[in-house]
């Protein structure tokens, strides 16, 4: 039996480094790598599950209970972001772990193009997963919260995406998860080792709040909250008592975007300057 030699779909002389092809290659890798689908499903399950538990457990007994239904229904992000971090770190860390990165960089010698393509594919897939996760959390909150005292008698409307601030909280939460992904991608590119990279990302997210709680000086406390990727980023979820929030909603998300951009920039620089 004779095997026909493998022929690529692209004629000889095609410039493989064109962005479209790079994107296609990264998409094929992401699509066919075993874990990607399950990790994205994990983002959805983790976010919706924790969000539903918090929505089911939080009660409001009077008009002054001071609860923010947006924060309550979207609390699943605390857990969902950890799965996003793993997904993002593995997007490039997995290649370093298996040595695949050498093949990738041989095929696409322009390293920043490769990283940009990875970022684009990651952004796209996280956008889809995060949107489903947030919509699921919104639905869970809408179904569960009215039974727990979040009623018009206590000054709460039924959760609805037609409500301006709540829509901002929901859209902001989707963007939050995507930005966490880009932060993870940048850090993993710079560090290469997946285990260390995910430790750094989770440390960055979870250590700031612990430190904030320990700092007694109120100005320092506020400054820490304003630069913390998680606390500042999640400020986008606030729909009540905005005055007590350390940073305004979109500015907070901007802080997280700055962290993500910084991490990607450092990752791109290190990737250019270093041997793979």
């Amino acid at each position: 039996m004779r095997h026909a030699p493998l022929e690529t779909q692209l004629p000889l002389g095609t410039r493989y480094t064109e962005t479209g092809h790079t994107l296609h290659a990264e998409w094929t890798k992401a699509r066919t790598a075993g874990g990607t689908f399950w990790l994205l499903l994990g983002v959805i399950v983790a976010t919706v599950a924790l969000g539903a538990v918090v929505s089911a457990a939080t009660k409001c007994s009077s008009a002054t209970c001071g609860q923010d239904p947006a924060k309550v229904s979207l609390a699943g992000l605390y857990l969902g972001q950890a799965v996003v971090a793993v997904t993002a770190v593995l997007a490039i860390g997995g290649e370093y772990g298996t040595g695949m990165i050498l093949v990738t960089l041989t095929a696409v010698p322009r390293r920043s193009t490769m990283l940009a393509a990875k970022a684009a594919i990651l952004t796209g897939s996280l956008l889809v997963a995060a949107t489903i996760a947030v919509l699921g959390s919104v639905l869970a909150g809408r179904l569960l919260l009215p039974g727990n005292g979040f009623t018009t008698a206590h000054g709460y409307q039924l959760l609805s995406l037609t409500d301006g601030p709540y829509l901002r909280a929901a859209v902001g939460s989707v963007l939050y998860l995507v930005l966490i992904g880009l932060l993870g991608l940048g850090i993993a590119t710079a560090i290469r080792d997946s285990a260390v990279a995910v430790g750094v990302v989770l440390g960055l997210l979870y250590l700031f709040p612990v430190l904030e709680a320990a700092v007694s000086s109120s100005s320092w406390h506020r400054h820490l909250e304003q630069i913390s990727p998680m606390t500042a980023g999640l400020a986008v979820q606030a729909t009540s008592s905005l005055a007590s929030s350390p940073i305004s909603p979109w500015a907070g998300l901007g802080v997280l975007a700055a962290w993500a951009a910084g991490a990607l920039l450092v990752g791109a620089l290190v990737l250019r300057l270093r041997d793979a």
């Binding site: 457990a57 007994s61 001071g66 989770l202 709040p209 320990a214 320092w220």
Partner: protein, 506 residues
């Protein structure tokens, strides 16, 4: 020339566990990154003790509230109508009413009628009117019946039920030398002894009389994460006062400056006294200001993440580099290999934790005191428990990461899983409690985060109402019980890891 083939000093198939330990320690020690990781882990635990930058406005003596006879910080403020008693004697009084005022809170400033559960009115024998001095007292309370309390921390229940004109309460205290005995009665003829206590160093002339006080009002609703409150007052009405000595004139003193409630004082009409007071005679709890030595250990989490990464990689690197095949050929008993790895990881992390936590607690305390922060007292044994316990938390966390590393075989998954199960519950229950108090307490009993109870140094007193939540340093489990929960999780993870390691192809 005859070449002698290499011969291992071990006979085939007979190696001891210590050989395995030696092999695993050699692997650990020769990877530079892991040693750096362990050192960094120890350093960050210590370093964070200095970066919190806590500033206080007091030096050591000025910020210390009154200390009780046992050396613990106490609240000692109440309205005291008293006269001296020299030598032995007995005081009897009937309480016919206990009413009070609590802040309106949500309805704006001001007070409304109401009684906090531990509002107190009764009779007391006290060494002096100085706050913190020794005492024994019989009292009626808002909703805990008649109690006999002495020296701030002791509390014994007497007659149950609330006091009113139709159900008055008769109280009696008898001093004999250093001992004071309390009695109660519903009718003034049938008396029951509640307790006999010894007040060490009670001077021969003590202050004896009537008192009333009321601790701060605390409003906590189930299902919500926050509490609010303010000062309250209590008014006790006394009559049928009977002294076994000739008795002098009564003097009124607002001991300890009162608890902030309006109009403390007393009125006397014929033989009836009406006394209004605010404050508490009780051990101090966290809401009274100050920090615990756990404040110096914020770095535990940074160190924990570093050691979790090292622990996970110690296992997953074997899979990535396929060293696991060699390891298991050399030592086919897979359970022993896992045990040796766990021991090496645990011991190394424990030592790192011990150094880091020891430096943090010992030096951090000094920095806090120099900066004028009031530290709740913790004796040497407690400090040792906090340091050793923190090191144990770090060691167990690293071992859990190692075990998850066997289960998942991927470093990234192992690190993320270990951090999420240990740190995330802490974030959600202690740092920024978004969950209702009931669920919070439940999580702090079952999740690995329960182990941080080992850092608590404050004691919960049933006779003091307070927000006893983890954010204020009170865990639902005792220190060692909390650590035991983490031990159970570690055992579970190791058990599953051993099972999978045996069953699966390497």
């Amino acid at each position: 020339m005859i070449i002698t083939p290499y011969q291992s000093r071990f006979r085939e198939g007979s190696y001891r566990f210590t050989d395995l330990l030696h092999a695993e320690w050699t692997k650990f020690r020769t990877v530079r990154g892991w040693i750096i990781g362990v050192v960094v882990g120890a350093l960050v635990v210590a370093a964070f003790a200095f970066v919190t930058g806590q500033q206080g406005s007091c030096n050591v003596s000025a910020c210390t509230g009154p200390l009780g006879p046992g050396g613990e910080q106490v609240s000692d403020s109440f309205y005291f109508v008293h006269q001296p008693l020299t030598g032995n004697g007995s005081i009897t009084a009937r309480v016919t009413s206990l009413t009070g005022q609590v802040p309106t809170l949500t309805q704006g400033p001001g007070m409304r009628p109401g009684l906090v559960p531990w509002a107190k009115a009764g009779i007391i024998i006290k060494a002096s009117t100085t706050p913190g001095s020794a005492y024994a007292a019989m009292m009626v309370t808002g909703s805990h019946g008649v109690r006999m309390q002495d020296d701030f921390t002791q509390d014994v229940a007497g007659l149950p039920g609330a006091v009113s004109a139709t159900t008055p309460r008769w109280l009696r205290l008898t001093r004999s030398g250093d001992t004071v005995t309390g009695y109660d009665s519903a009718d003034g003829t049938h008396w029951t002894r509640v307790d006999t206590v010894t007040l060490a160093g009670l001077p021969s002339t003590a202050q004896v009389g009537l008192f009333a006080t009321s601790p701060g009002f605390l409003q906590t609703s189930l299902g919500e994460a926050s509490a609010s409150g303010g000062p309250s007052t209590a008014t006790g009405v006394f009559d049928k006062i009977d002294l076994t000595w000739s008795g002098g004139s009564w003097a009124g003193t607002d001991v300890g400056g009162g608890g902030g409630g309006p109009t403390p004082g007393f009125t006397q009409t014929a033989s009836t006294f009406s006394i209004t007071g605010s404050g508490d005679i009780a051990p101090s709890v966290s809401s009274s200001g100050g920090v615990t030595i756990a404040e110096t250990l914020v770095g535990t989490f940074a160190g924990l993440i570093v050691l979790v990464v090292v622990g996970a990689m110690f296992m997953t690197a074997e899979y990535r580099r396929r060293l696991i095949a060699t390891t298991l050929i050399a030592a086919p008993r897979r359970g022993h290999v896992l045990a040796a790895k766990a021991v090496v990881t645990g011991v190394v992390s424990f030592v790192a934790g011990l150094v880091g936590a020891g430096l943090a607690v010992l030096l951090g305390q000094r920095v806090l005191r120099d900066d004028g922060v009031y530290l709740f007292p913790a004796d040497a044994l407690t400090q040792v428990r906090v340091i050793v316990g923190t090191a144990a938390v770090l060691a167990l966390s690293a071992v859990i990461a190692l075990a998850i590393g066997v289960i998942l075989r991927r470093g990234v998954g192992a690190v993320a899983a270990a951090v999420v199960v240990i740190v995330l519950p802490y974030l959600l229950t202690v740092t920024a409690p978004i969950l209702p108090i009931g669920l919070n307490d439940w999580l702090l009993r079952v999740t690995p985060t329960s182990a941080f109870a080992v850092q608590q140094t404050l004691i919960q007193y049933p006779q003091v109402d307070n927000t006893y939540s983890a954010s204020y340093g009170y865990y639902p489990l005792s220190p060692w019980a909390g650590l035991a929960v983490l031990c159970a999780w570690t055992a579970l993870a190791l058990g599953l890891a051993a099972y999978l390691l045996r069953r699966r192809d390497a």
